[in-house]
Amino acid sequence: MSDIEQIPVTLTVNGKKVQRFVEPRTLLIHFLREELNITGPHIGCETSHCGACTVEMNGMSVKSCTVFAAQANGAEMTTIEGMANPDGTLSALQEGFRQMHGLQCGFCTPGMITRAHTLLKENPNPSEEEIRMGIAGNLCRCTGYQNIVKAIQYAAEQLNQPETQEAAE
């Protein structure tokens, strides 16, 4: 360990409260992956271009490679690990990615699904163009995006069905 003074950070990740001491320079992505063993968010570029590290922080999509862990103090955070339904089944988005073949190597997938999760909260009925714009901060090298768009449309449809809404209420 280096001599740099550590500062306390408290936050809620996937519904669980965590408290740690971190170096002020520790990036959120390293904090999640190495301190908390939350390895779903990935590192693809460290320059906030690829979005593989996307998490939801206080209701917004955030690229955790360009946020300090210290900035997340007091935050509510959701990562891909917190996306499944409470009973452990795949969420509509996760199921959509599987049904529509919206992933191949799987490396961008956690960030992509996490981004889509927030996107559908911002806009529950997005058009194809709005979906494409909405995920433009997340790069995929395998799929060409066409099936990712379909996956998000699948989830939007599922989530907008009346029975699903009732169940959620």
Partner: protein, 806 residues
Amino acid sequence: MNDMTPTREQREAALEGMGCKRKRVEDVRFTQGKGQYVDDLKLPGMVFGDFVRSPYPHAKITRIDASEALKLPGVIAVLTAEDLKGVNLAWMPTLAGDVQMVLADGKVLYQNQEVAFVVAEDRYIADDAIQLVEVDYEELPVLTDPFKSMDSDAPVLRPDLEGKMEGAHGPRKHHNHIFNWEVGDKDETAKAFAEADVTINEMISYHRTHPSPLETCQCVASMDKVKGELTVWGTFQAPHVIRTVASLLSTIPEHKIHVIAPDIGGGFGNKVGAYPGYICSIVASIVTGVPVKWVEDRMENLSTTSFARDYHMTTEIAAKSDGTVTGLKVHVLADHGGFDACADPSKWPAGFFNIVTGSYDFPTAHLEVDGVYTNKAPGGVAYRCSFRVTEAAYCIERGMDILAQKLEMDPADLRIKNFIKPEQFPYQSALGWEYDSGDYHTAMQKAMDTIGYRELRVEQKAKQEAFKRGETREIMGIGVSFFTEIVGAGPSKNCDILGVAMFDSAEIRVHPTGSVISRMGTKSQGQGHETTWAQIIATEIGIPAADIMVEEGNTDTAPYGLGTYGSRSTPVAGAAIALAARKIRNKAQMIAAHMLEVSEYDLEWDVDGFQVKGNPEARKSMKEIAWAAYHAPPPNMEPGLEAVSYYDPPNMTYPFGAYFCVMDIDVDTGVATTRRFYALDDCGTRINPMIIEGQVHGGLTEAFAIAMGQEIRYDETGNVLGASFMDFFIPTAVETPHWETDHTVTPSPHHPIGAKGVGESPNVGGVPAFSNAVNDAFQFLGNTHIQMPHDAWRNWQAAKNLGAHS
């Protein structure tokens, strides 16, 4: 039979075998963030390695002083070439028969070259320590232009080769020359050109780019000094080859090296070779006795581990006035950077570039490739293509368009006129290949009908007239590409990597209750092998794919194989899987005969079991046979039900396809918009249509990127430009066009299930389709050829140069 007995169709559907759009088993873990990639691995006591890199592209190193870095708390070691010399690892052999510095030995040859390896307790300290390592450089003249590399006054890049006028592939004619590779009939080709009615001659460049999978190259090396065993987890497309190379270099016996490739976040050729990061991590673990992790950052990835392309192809075609081609002559100047680390089968210095005659019946051809050194990063990997096949496809597909222009013929008609005819297969090409099967005319006709090709040409003509009248500032291009690939390396008679023949393998074990574990020598990086390999087995032995587990990447458990790249998995390992499964079915037939008390010749296979001919009620399912195989085998038969197969393919496979791109370009902004892109692929037998379509989408997106803007450029002083995602074009969902896919099926006659491989076709065929669309759009303004990549700036320049702005 009662009503509960499933029908034959129901039993077939339950297998989810070949041809089924089976959902991927991998997705369950990947959609939940439960993939296990290298960087997810955390071992007790693990430390981190990182590189000190050269800011200069060509310089002598006069001093390296790590003393300040070593004083930093948390720094464990700093390795330099001098340290590596102690274990004879300062240099490593490349796949192409050259040697490459692991750490700079007295000089550097490209910007960001590895100079020293810092080992520290965490990533942040390693990064701090890098800043504290002092290196003194003495700059040398820089060579970045491959066309100047063999000038008499060109700087000497490789003093280690001084006086060596014989390289790994024959004589060298200059101190920066690597090899000359010549194929074909020079005299016959010269004669064809002398007698030709029409000839073309164009220098067609395929620029330097990079595969850049979203996960960079990385590894964890762990040396257990007590057991004398080394374990390396890494992003390896070819784990067994890495194990063999590691054993040869380290002298650790091969059985004491465990190489494990866990989930891989995309490869596209980037993860085939061995890189200094792997070697340094292994040495550092041996030195420190603790596990060492090395993870490349994006800039390191783009600027050091394996570029692709950088081929400069002078292309000449001879033809009769009716369009019949009579000869092809190509000279390639291949820029290999500072070391020849090109990832090709060892006997092929320019890969399979001699597929450059393409889909056309050239009676004669001549090809020469000269490889040269420059002050650029080493590499030359097959970025989602078989070895140098995308370069070849681009060369011939641009060439055919240029010839059509000169002949004032339609480029689709010119292609059809010269296609190899269905009855000519197996077809011997002028440059030495035997094409296995093809029906190009049917594929082309289907594609042209679907896209409405003739109508598009009419529309284009009208738009050109409107442009000339000043009514529009938009021009329209139609890109035609009809490619033939050569994949599935390969037959041991001509394909090996450092002497290891390029077979592949499969092992299948049926458990007593009728479920299966199977292991292969390949390694998926997103291709979905866990899903598709199970489908082949399901069809062959009648056990549902859901009951078949596929495992790859662990060299201790998987049979030896050469890995996944060059679209070789389905042509080679896919065949091994089918043959291993057939061995199991043959044994099952004998067991079933014993169980039913008939001769095995009285039995016939029916979906998921054997039945007595003429008496289908008397049958045994594979599940029943599996139990009997262990507990009640016939007398004198070994118990158990498993098989291993190693497959040495008799030939390559030759997938093909017809691609059309319709593009509109604004001449005032240079912005190009892809209106339609239609891709018809023929990859022989289709194992999982959903996965094929996904692969085509992905490959087309890569082709779009490469053709329209993705480039690793160097300035004249050797600075690498474009080594971050800010500058290196990776299309987002916004720019990426909509893809239309289609297919025909022409099975490979020599492959057990007739499959040819598809993963790379869209990259190979897509690049010429895009580039031809751009060039076609500008043709009526007088254009012959514009070099890629066709970004808005270059399109704007082209418009300006052709007088469209006046």
